[in-house]
């Protein structure tokens, strides 16, 4: 036994519980001694024999881990799927809410668009890393916690009931619709909030609210609330598909939004007077034409949205009848 063997023994034994060290030490010295002797007998020099015997043992930490059945992986097959499913679920549920929350908070405190995007990306990455780290840590600890005898631990036995339903035809395309609706509505809501601080890239409007600030007493919160309802509505469409109830809801939402907006616009309450002056409104003779175009686009957009809902409802009923 030389310094080299002693170093190997120390490197292996230091990670073991105190109680198991003596036995481990004895067993390992027996093994190294026997292997070295056999190599010397085969004609190797004592030094070479010892080096070869220790090299064959491999990494001392791995040897010790095997000795006490300590896993050499962070999360093994028993918990891997549970960890992976939970991680995905947390990321897709928590991250969007965190991002929206940060965007709103930044907008309310008057950040620029660039500042909002920067904050959302920065905090989003940090929230994601936290979620991944803590989830993984919990499972790594579970992996190292022995389950009581006869129990499986916290992993759930898989049953047939856990099989996912076959994807409904149309649900995949509805997902794309959901994402685009929600993105549009969030941007729209953000625009309503941000316009309060002016349009930074137009010098005349740099700090002038576009919409009449007096509307904050009722109408702007009302529109923001409606946008919230529209988001819920988009989720409902994704979950259930179009039906007559939802088509009717779509009509109500469109009326609730478009009528007050047009009324405010036509009675001159919508746009901030200062902003109009800054834009040098009215623009010569074109004013009536522009007003007419805006009104037609607003009515046309709302009408099309309602009709689109009805068409999709009729199609969805038809498809349901065809498969029934």
């Amino acid at each position: 036994m030389t310094i080299l063997t002693d170093r190997y023994m120390w490197a292996a034994a230091r990670t073991l519980p105190e109680a198991q060290r003596a036995e481990f030490d004895r067993e390992l010295r027996e093994r190294i001694g026997d292997a070295t002797d056999a190599l010397i007998e085969a004609g190797a020099s004592p030094d070479d024999a010892e080096r070869a015997a220790l090299t064959e043992l491999g990494d001392p930490a791995a040897l010790a881990a095997h000795y006490v059945d300590r896993p050499l992986h962070l999360i093994g097959p028993r918990y891997f799927l549970a960890w992976w499913r939970l991680l995905k679920l947390l990321l897709i549920t928590v991250l969007p809410f965190a991002a929206i929350g940060i965007a709103i908070a930044q907008a309310v405190t008057g950040a620029t668009v660039g500042g909002i995007i920067g904050a959302v990306i920065g905090v989003g990455i940090s929230v994601g890393v936290h979620i991944a780290f803590w989830t993984t840590l919990v499972f790594a600890i579970l992996e190292r916690t022995p389950a009581p005898a006869g129990r499986r631990g916290i992993d759930v036995a898989w049953t047939l009931d856990m099989l996912p339903a076959l994807p409904e035809p149309g649900k995949a395309s509805r997902l794309a619709e959901l994402i685009s609706s929600v993105v549009f509505l969030v941007v729209f809501a953000a625009a309503i909030v941000v316009q309060q601080f002016g349009v930074p890239w137009v010098p005349e409007l740099a700090s002038v609210p576009i919409l009449d600030p007096a509307l904050w007493s009722f109408w702007l919160p009302y529109f923001l609330g409606l946008i919230g309802l529209e988001i819920l509505f988009a989720v409902a469409i994704y979950a259930w598909g179009w039906n007559w109830w939802l088509a009717a809801g779509n009509l109500v939402l469109n009326i609730a939004f478009t009528l007050p907006a047009l009324w405010l616009f036509l009675t001159g309450q919508l746009i901030n007077e200062t902003a109009l002056e800054a834009m040098r409104w009215p623009w010569g003779d074109s004013a009536p034409i522009i007003v007419t175009i805006v009104v037609l686009v607003a009515i046309g957009g709302a009408l099309w949205d309602v009709i689109d809902g009805v068409i999709k409802t009729v199609r969805a009923r038809g498809a349901a009848r065809a498969t029934a």
């Binding site: 004895r26 067993e27 027996e30 093994r31 064959e56 043992l57 000795y67």
Partner: protein, 113 residues
């Protein structure tokens, strides 16, 4: 993965259980790790030290082997011996081994009935 690695992997899987059986049968007469390794390899039951030593520990933990330190010589050695439950397991494994051997023989000669 090249064909040689694939072959080596399958051979290893095929031998894994037979090493357990060989140990249980061989250790009816008590012996220590290195002597067991030598005798198994001489008999043509190929196993390397990094497999055998952890296996002996595991079998001991499962109560299939018992052990005793022999300190008569300069180097203390741990002598393993097959326990009664180890004997039972050896019988069960041997029976199954014979059954599989017969079945495979029937399969290769096409004489299954």
């Amino acid at each position: 993965m090249n064909p040689e690695e694939t072959t080596a992997g399958h051979l290893q899987e095929l031998r894994r259980g037979t090493v357990v059986l060989a140990c249980l049968v061989r250790l009816r007469i008590p012996d220590y790790g290195y002597a067991l390794l030598e005798s198994l390899n001489t008999l043509g039951i190929l196993v390397d030290a990094n497999t055998l030593y952890p296996l002996l520990r595991r079998l001991e933990k499962q109560g299939l082997l018992t052990s005793e330190w022999n300190t008569d010589e300069a180097r203390p050695r741990k002598f393993y011996r097959t326990s009664p439950s180890g004997e039972q397991l050896a019988d069960a494994l041997m029976t199954d081994w014979r059954r599989i051997d017969d079945a495979l023989a029937g399969l290769t000669t096409g004489d299954e009935k």
